[in-house]
């Protein structure tokens, strides 16, 4: 089945991107991570990468076109001769040409996604919200309302010291979004427990030996244990949106990776559905992609819980910033030579209590039997 590549959101203030150039043409085979299109916003030129391997079936825009974030840039397929879903490029007048008129909710969602109503099949006389959601599911389209706005005081004055202003790069912008959400939305607090690391170290060493692993599986096994504990207690896997509890279905694990000077929160999606070995492989894969600077969008978004270790840097404690819509981030530290280790947690007190988190940390401090 053909699949679409959508115009990315480069930053929160730009709902439109302009196509600068195509790096590929119809019939080309591209691999996930290949740059296929360059787009520009008011602030930056961004390379858009293919999210999957596949042949380019059809380009849905032209150079210099201004397209809404979320709109389809091109179609790909597993073979070069797949059919592309019918999707007129030009938006027809509403209600004309036999196209089902969208309901108000459907129209709002279409607008949010930058989709043309004519591209979405209607199940009845009117194009319903369910029709649009079914189309989203079929084409792997996600809503983008999980990117919170960054609130920066409009009248912030410049420091009274000579200097120059510069735009933040994508990673810095992401960090600003994260710290802003932590500050403005989460009721973030922190607690920690100390534990004797020997049992976990022995467990990891035995696992590494049995599986001939190159990399110590200690942190992946700790992260996997976290996933399993959260899976068993779904209330730990939730957030608050618009004053309501939002219960996540999958457990998507965020895992921090330092690549050079950049700190990434890599994401293993549906981690709760993976067996131990597959989870370790998946985590290894996203870590490598981070170091290669080839992370896909799915590998950097959608964390529902998270894990961070600074054991490498020999710190005794670190208090993580909560990523947007993530209510729990575990902080691991193990000062060398101390014979002790620390499991801490930043958590959103709107969602979790200290009791919830303390019990989780005590369970996490022990390897599975």
């Amino acid at each position: 089945m053909a699949f679409a590549l959508h115009a990315p959101r480069v930053n929160n203030n730009d709902d439109i991107v302009q196509v600068i150039s195509f790096r590929v043409g119809v019939g080309d085979f591209v691999k996930r991570g290949d740059v296929v299109i360059d787009v520009e916003t008011d602030k930056a030129i961004v390379e858009v990468e293919a999210e999957r391997d596949g042949y380019v079936l059809k380009l849905m825009c032209e150079v210099d076109d201004k397209v809404p974030v979320g709109a389809i840039l091109l179609w790909q397929g597993d073979s070069a001769d797949e059919a592309v879903p019918e999707a007129p490029v030009a938006a027809p007048a509403e209600g004309g040409s036999g196209i089902a008129r969208p309901t108000a909710k459907a129209r709002a969602l279409l607008k949010e996604l930058g989709l043309d109503a004519a591209a979405v099949p209607a199940s009845g006389e009117r194009l319903s919200l369910a029709d649009v959601e079914a189309y989203m599911t079929a084409h792997g389209i996600r809503r983008r309302d999980h990117t919170p706005a960054v609130s920066v005081p409009a009248q912030e004055s410049l420091p009274d010291v000579p200097g120059e202003l510069a735009d933040l790069n994508a990673e810095e912008r992401g960090m600003l979004i994260t710290v802003s959400w932590h500050r403005d939305h989460a009721a973030a607090t922190y607690l920690e427990v100390e534990y004797d690391p020997k049992a976990w170290e022995d467990h990891a060493a035995a696992y590494a030996s049995a599986n001939k692993l190159m990399l110590s599986p200690l942190l992946p096994l700790l992260a996997y244990r976290l996933v399993q504990l959260v899976k068993a207690s779904p209330r730990l896997n939730a957030t608050v949106v618009n004053g309501k509890r939002f219960q996540y279905r999958p457990v998507n694990l965020g895992f921090t990776v330092q690549a050079g000077e950049t700190l990434y929160l890599t994401v293993v999606r549906d981690a709760d559905a993976l067996e131990t070995g597959k989870f370790i492989e998946a985590l290894g894969e996203v870590q490598r992609h981070a170091i290669q600077r080839k992370l896909s969008r799915d590998e950097t978004t959608g964390a529902t819980i998270a894990f961070s270790s600074m054991a490498r840097w020999n710190v005794s404690r670190h208090i993580p910033i909560l990523p947007p819509y993530c209510s729990l981030m575990i902080a691991h530290a193990a000062p060398k030579g101390s014979g002790r280790a620390v499991l801490g947690a930043s958590y959103d007190h709107r969602v979790l209590s200290g009791f919830d988190v303390a019990r989780l940390l005590m369970d996490l401090a022990k390897p599975p039997v």
Binding site: L213, M214, L219, I291, Q292
Partner: protein, 89 residues
């Protein structure tokens, strides 16, 4: 890309020493058959950097299951694995 076995070993050794130095360790005496993760010179994050460098240096993308002690555990085995994959071993 130099596929001479000694050249590969030298390049891998130099990379391990560089990564160890970043962690404040001197890996100058690492042996060709020493199991790199067991030497204590480099941690998992550094080994991951070593693997990513190795893939790029020898233009040889690895499957996750190939990243194991048998294939990449020592300087010798890393050299052998390149030669095997390149059909030069």
């Amino acid at each position: 890309m130099n596929l001479d076995r000694e050249a590969i070993k030298g390049a891998v050794r130099a990379k391990v020493i560089e990564l160890a130095r970043n962690l404040g360790m001197d890996a100058g005496d690492i042996g060709d058959d020493d199991i790199i993760p067991a030497t204590g010179y480099v941690d998992s994050a550094a080994i991951l950097e070593l693997v990513v460098w190795y893939e790029a240096e020898y233009d040889m993308p690895l499957k996750q299951e190939e990243i194991n002690i048998d294939n990449l555990g020592s300087i010798n085995s890393m050299a052998d694995f390149v030669l095997k994959r390149k059909g030069a071993g």
